[in-house]
Symmetry: C3
Subunit: 247 residues, 3 copies
């Protein structure tokens, strides 16, 4: 396996975001894509990541392989990438070798881990509402909610998405109206409502580094999914378990 | 009560500064102004704040009311104000409701506290010296003094203000000469001297966010007053008890 | 003794760097230069510093004198220097008096310490390799190495300098090829190798504030020397003891 890339942003930003949720993960490298499906240690959140060959200047993958990696190690190395560096990834002798060629040639090697972890399956979910909007609006709303509480309710009706949090004494409530920026698809006229952890949402919404827009899908007291996509390059999704109302 | 403002800076910066000194405070809202007089918990410093109706785009106050608020809560919400947001304040059901209307509509509610605190009276002080100067000169001088000690002496004579601090071994001394920038009014030819806590002065001088100039008033071993004013908009003053010479 | 300077950068940056390694030090002030030779408290690193009269606008030193100073005190004061300040240093009554003349006149005094420390002698070293290169390349290489380990090996051969670190599981290796930017002088065709503490190197390479280039000298399992020089102004060198291979 040998992979070369010059536009290092997609790999670097994705790993930075994913490593906030998952410590170790197994990348599946195939001729079609680099993929990752992983649960966070508390089993509350799932990460689904796909990086396409069109991100790479060289994509030499003869056969499918699995690479279990400590993501924190990988993140620390990717942080060292400078804008003009060309990056190469190679699997060699149970090591992932990362070469940065710029004014100097810098080579890092991190261990490929043994793992007997069974493959994570992406669950088949049935969403009642899908909202596409500017990721920064959702980032702001989650930061607003973070002032007053630890969990946040998403409530959607055909004309608006509402994000709401309540603390012991204080409240925050954000209305995001349907508009050119915000598309809302719901089947039901009744509002749908579900509650999620702000701590997790803050880590997930960082996917906005990869894409200006986010697609939010959820259902009544049901998991929420966030999708960040750049066509032909990268797709990063998160699934987050709901909090039950008496949390 | 309903108050609307688009130039949110005066309210936001004032609360940020005051909340460093006072945790809970009672605003007096009248048709003429929003006012606050409060002591810090250690009873060393007084804050006197006045925000005028001309800061507001809507100022609907039918009758005088008192609003006891946790200033830290209020500060956290005001931090979320973005430059283009229009801000509305309403008192409703023992809550202060704060609405930020920008690309989305964001509403926060914080409790109006019960308080049996009696009204603070601003003391009638008799100052021997008044200095008007650029607030940044005083900020710098206090930061200089902070390197060597915990308290600082203000010494004034007709031609200059001196700010002086002494640690176990080190000393700092700043001379600010009378000039176009620095106006000095003293009645006595003999230097006046008094000593104050640097920790408090650092919090108070942050009032420079509101006004370029500061008026400093003090007397021999007597309280010091700092005034920050923007005509027709806002006035923020602090009174600080002196340290006795053998502190 | 009275010294005046307007280009305060050389003094300020040097003291900031040196104070990370040495707490108290004795400056030798002569008509020819201000000099300092000091060991760090752990006796692992030596600092050799020289500031030339051409850095000063006034250099009035009648006779040789010694000034023992707490460098942290001095650094804190030099941090308060603003770009337009003229700085004056005077020795007076067992105090070093530092005056900053800008929009105000600010005077600091710190104690001149008693010291019975005997003068440090710069050791006579015999280096097998000398490399002159851009200091930022070495800074980057040390930061790269810092991700994986606590010590770093310098390996030099006629055509390149290699910097290499190994942790429990990860590795970093940087190749800096001979080029117009990187001059390499070695007498032997066999690679020379020695190992040093990354913690110390990070503090020393901060000398790059003073000069774009660094001269690195070392030998097999032998001390390393870093030289930062600005002609006619300042010279700052560090000598660092090697780590033995079984550290």
């Amino acid at each position: 396996m040998k992979l070369g890339l010059t536009e290092t942003k997609y790999l670097k930003d994705s790993i930075a975001v994913i490593s906030e949720l998952v410590n170790e993960a197994t990348f599946k490298v195939t001729p079609q894509a680099i993929e990752l499906v992983a649960m966070d240690p508390a089993n509350v959140a799932m990460v689904i990541f796909k990086l396409l060959p069109s991100c790479f200047t060289e994509y030499d993958v003869k056969e499918k392989m699995e690479l279990a990696i400590n993501l924190n190690n990988l993140k620390q190395i990717l942080r060292r990438v400078k804008p003009d560096d060309a990056l190469t990834l190679e699997a060699e002798d149970n090591k992932l070798k990362i070469t940065l060629q710029g004014q100097t040639r810098r080579t890092f090697a991190i261990p490929i881990l043994d793992t007997d972890e069974k493959e994570q399956k992406v669950p088949d979910l049935n969403f009642g509402a899908t909202i596409k909007t500017n990721a920064s609006l959702i980032t702001e709303a989650i930061e607003d909610a973070d002032i007053v509480g630890e969990s946040v309710s998403f409530i959607v009706q055909p004309d608006k998405l509402m994000i709401s949090a309540e603390g012991d004494l204080s409240k925050a409530h954000i209305d995001i109206d349907k508009s050119e920026i915000t598309q809302i698809n719901v089947h039901d006229m009744n509002p749908l409502r579900a509650k999620y952890s702000i701590e997790y949402l803050k880590k997930m919404i960082a996917g906005a580094k990869l894409a200006d827009d986010v697609i939010i899908s959820f259902n009544k007291d049901y998991p929420l999914k966030l999708d960040f996509k750049t066509i032909d390059k990268v797709a990063l999704s998160f699934i987050l378990a709901p909090r039950v109302e008496n949390d």
